[in-house]
């Protein structure tokens, strides 16, 4: 289950003639490694807590508004 479209790179041949494909492939691979390294960390707790609080606050205000 990848977020990436694997054919993304081949679909942009019109972008520029001067970059050869394999160099492009190296860069694409590195970009994905960079993302993977962050994504593998998962979502930091502070963001989960924040969303939880926002959700909670909204539910409370909805409840009191009715």
């Amino acid at each position: 289950m990848s977020m990436f479209q694997s054919d993304q790179d081949s679909s942009d041949n019109g972008a520029g003639p001067s970059v050869p494909d394999s160099g492009r492939a190296v860069i694409t691979r590195k970009l994905r490694e960079l993302y993977d390294a962050v994504q593998d960390e998962g979502i930091p707790d502070k963001f989960l807590d924040l969303l939880e609080k926002l959700d909670e606050a909204e539910r409370r205000s909805k409840a009191s508004g009715e």
Partner: protein, 188 residues
């Protein structure tokens, strides 16, 4: 009715959670400081939550969040009136990267090369090459023509290849070296 609203709210939160790791990867790759990137992600979550009415359920949550994050990023730069620089190299040193196979580009080197790109080029290549957006989506996110995105990506790729010393058709390794040597000898 209340049921529906509540259900929408839960879907919104769930969609947002699903999009967060990728959004954070974008932020951390775009900005040199991880702390700043996380602050920005936090601002984005709050902004997005506040304007969730304007999100159309089932549309592209990732694109929507990236647009908010990006706007926030540039508005912070404008406000502070300075370029965002990581002068102490905190960004590059924070993530320790295990040594890779011989003959491949080290992720640390790649990160440093990426930092040398102008913001607009780095942003474009991240959106296309890593976030996996289509050119049209990236153009919409950045509020510029598709052709502009294409040329930024193209320039970013060329510059990265230059910085990383990636030569022509071959990736590194013996073949590329041999080719380079042969080519050099041929010139004499």
């Amino acid at each position: 009715m209340t049921q529906d609203v509540e259900k929408d709210g839960h879907n919104f939160k769930r969609e947002m959670l699903a999009a967060l790791p990728n959004l954070r990867a974008f932020a951390i790759s775009l900005i040199r400081s991880r702390d700043r990137a996380d602050d920005l992600v936090q601002d984005t979550i709050m902004k997005a939550w506040a304007k969730q009415e304007s999100y159309q359920p089932g549309t592209n949550m990732r694109a929507w969040l990236v647009t908010i994050l990006r706007n926030e990023f540039y508005s912070q730069i404008r406000k502070s009136g300075r370029e965002v620089q990581d002068t102490d190299g905190a960004y590059t040193s924070r993530l320790s990267v295990p040594p890779e196979q011989h003959g491949s580009v080290d992720l640390h080197d790649f990160r440093q090369a990426l930092e040398k790109l102008p913001d607009d080029q780095r942003e474009a290549i991240l959106l296309i090459g890593a976030s996996g957006f289509a050119y049209e989506e990236a153009a919409e996110i950045c509020g510029c023509p598709v052709g502009t995105i294409k040329s930024r990506v193209s320039r970013a790729r060329m510059r990265l290849q230059e910085l990383l010393g990636i030569e022509n058709e071959n990736e590194f390794g013996p073949d590329a070296q041999t080719t380079a040597v042969t080519a050099a000898m041929g010139l004499r």
